[in-house]
């Protein structure tokens, strides 16, 4: 059995909402292995997005630990966590969150630019990913010139172009129609099987839940059930 790339031990997150403590995540233990296609499901308020944020080093736990490739994230500074996210993780957001003044190609190149990659290399990689995802013709279009599905494809390209260890996707199909959502899931499954990219989804969409090789169902911040 290989070592997990992501581990959560006794993970808890409490935040205040108008002075009232909200226990979003309560004592979760979790292992994520390479090439996992894991879906964290649950109704609204179940803590799935909070858990995803904790696993993605976007948030810090109130208690417990997250280990990424063996390293305890609680020992890292904000700057080190930002570096970690840039180098080893990819993110796909519900609202695509592309930079509106950059073209599709520039959006995809952006994280490579932040990593200091040479222009020629990042351009070549961006072009290759766009070809692979069937969005090469969108290279010079800005987000306001694309459909939701196209934008999300660009967001997927941005997330995977740096060969991350793990891609975290928060409700990736929330703002698009069923057919487009299915097509995107096909795409991500293909990236998972052909390029061995690990995906962790947070979603309440039955489409997404049905595709997960592993499923974690949350309720009130705890693991209610699991599959796979």
């Amino acid at each position: 059995m290989t070592n997990p790339i992501l581990q959560a031990r006794g993970l808890e997150k409490t935040y205040e909402d108008n002075g009232v403590p909200v226990h979003a995540v309560r004592g979760i233990d979790l292992d994520v292995f390479a090439e996992d296609f894991l879906v964290i499901a649950g109704p609204s308020g179940s803590g799935k997005t909070t858990l995803l944020n904790l696993l993605g080093a976007l948030d810090t736990p109130s208690a417990g630990h997250v280990f990424f490739e063996g390293a305890d994230l609680s020992s890292k500074s904000k700057s080190e966590l930002a570096y970690l996210r840039l180098q080893r993780m990819g993110f796909i957001f519900q609202a695509y969150n592309l930079i509106p003044v950059l073209t599709a190609l520039e959006n995809i190149e952006f994280t490579m630019m932040l990593r200091g990659m040479e222009k020629a290399e990042r351009h070549a990689r961006a072009q290759a990913v766009m070809e692979e995802l069937g969005i090469a013709e969108l290279a010079h279009k800005r987000p306001n010139q694309m459909s939701g599905g196209q934008q999300q494809r660009v967001a997927i390209a941005r997330a995977i172009v740096t060969d991350p260890a793990v891609v975290l996707a928060d409700e990736p199909t929330a703002n698009i129609d069923t057919a487009t959502g299915n097509a995107l899931l096909d795409l991500m499954e293909r990236m998972n099987s052909e390029k061995h990219i690990t995906f962790i989804f947070s979603s309440h969409d039955p489409q997404v839940i049905g595709r997960g090789k592993r499923l974690l169902h949350l309720r009130d911040g705890r693991i209610d059930s699991s599959r796979g």
Partner: protein
């Protein structure tokens, strides 16, 4: 380059807002450029009037004369100095003068004056005093002619052809005096100069003051006024410590100080204008940052460091400041161009201006200082105005910012 491109494109997300801020920056720069060039023109005119009408680029005296201008402190060996000046390639023209303080009296009144004995022919190509003659003529070289300021003539109640008596201490300790006939009246840019200066033939002054062939000073013009210090140093080396070689900066210290203070005050003025503009920049950049909270959250989520976010926001402000400055400078330059030839007519204030030694028409002067002040100070102030919004952007927590509505 993507970051620069991103910063530039961010400016135009809200074109109307950016144009409003740019316009305010440009207007501020136009105002400061026009004021700066006009003020410099006025100061330069003050200096040029003084240098051109009497002081000239440089003077040579016997050592100590400038601090203690007594008639006994004369240059005995003019030939030695003339040999040096004739052989120096940077000396364009020179003339010998007798200078002393004395009293000028008419039948009705008297006044303390600076008596300057000159060689009219040589002085024609040395100073511009001849061009200020408003009545009569400049000295022709005939003995006992006098040219004085019109204001002085009015005080003494004399006109062309009238006789006046000049008196001063002579070198031999006696009281020298001479009768002169008014040949001409001048009116310069300086009312003070007009009230206190008189010109007579050098020979008449030498006779009156028992100087023989001695003179008080050599006045001269050089090829390149910007190299005055270097030329003066060279002449000092050749003439020795017996003489003092003084560029106009040493002869007009208060005026030079005034110019230096003016430079500093203009910087302060630019900063004040910049501070006024800063509030517009702060407002614009804050609105821009708040509109992009979600985007900043995503940028931080994918790993963009705080430092880069700070630089990006500051760069946007720098672009705003620079673009407004360039536009404002170009407009200011277009206003400056016709004014530089026609001048700005301030006749309504001519009385006050004359007391400062400035004419009624001011010609703006564009210098490297104007350009650097405008192109550096205002953009820097724009960046300063963006610091607070940039820090706010930097401190956003990605997990909250991504969900901002």
């Amino acid at each position: 380059m993507i970051l620069l491109s991103l910063a530039w494109r961010n400016l135009w997300r809200n074109t109307r807002r950016s144009v409003i801020v740019l316009t305010s920056v440009a207007i501020g720069v136009v105002a400061t450029v026009i004021l700066d060039t006009l003020s410099r023109g006025m100061v330069f005119q003050m200096l040029n009037n003084q240098v051109g009408s009497h002081v000239t680029h440089m003077q040579i005296h016997r050592a100590g004369f400038h601090k203690n201008p007594v008639i006994q402190s004369t240059i005995a060996d003019s030939e030695q100095i003339e040999n040096v000046l004739r052989s120096d390639p940077d000396i364009v023209q020179y003339s010998r003068r007798v200078v002393t303080f004395g009293l000028l009296s008419s039948a009705t009144n008297s006044s303390g004056v600076s008596i300057v004995g000159i060689d009219p022919e040589r002085e024609r190509s040395l100073t511009t005093i001849r061009s200020y003659i408003v009545e009569g003529s400049y000295l022709t070289g005939a003995p006992r002619e006098i040219v004085l300021g019109k204001a002085l003539a009015e005080k003494l109640e004399v006109g062309l052809g009238d006789r006046v008596v000049a008196m001063a201490s002579a070198k031999d300790g006696t009281m020298g005096s001479e009768l002169f006939r008014v040949a001409g009246l001048f009116e310069t840019f300086s009312s003070e100069f007009d009230k206190t200066s008189i010109y007579v033939p050098r020979s008449s002054a030498q006779t009156m003051l028992a100087l023989g062939s001695e003179v008080s000073e050599f006045a001269m013009l050089v090829t390149d006024p910007d190299r005055l210090t270097e030329i003066a140093e060279r002449l000092r080396g050749r003439l020795g410590e017996e003489y003092e070689v003084l560029p106009y900066m040493d002869l007009l210290p208060f005026l030079v100080l005034q110019i230096e203070l003016y430079d500093q005050s203009m910087v302060i003025f630019y900063v004040i204008v910049g501070i006024a503009l800063i509030f517009g920049i702060i407002n614009t950049m804050l609105m821009s940052v708040f509109e992009r909270i979600k985007e900043f959250g995503v940028l931080k989520a994918v790993g963009m460091k705080n430092g880069r976010i700070l630089i990006m926001v500051l760069t946007e402000a720098l672009f705003l400041g620079m673009l407004g400055t360039v536009v404002g400078f170009l407009v200011g330059y277009l206003v400056y161009l016709p004014l530089s030839t026609s001048g700005l007519d301030l006749s309504a204030f001519s009385g006050s201006l004359r007391s400062f030694g400035v004419g009624a028409i001011i010609y703006p002067v564009l210098t490297a200082g104007v350009i650097t002040n405008a192109l550096i100070i205002i953009p820097l102030m724009a960046v300063a105005g963006a610091v607070y919004p940039a820090v706010r952007a930097m401190r956003l927590e990605p997990v909250h910012a991504i969900r901002y509505v």
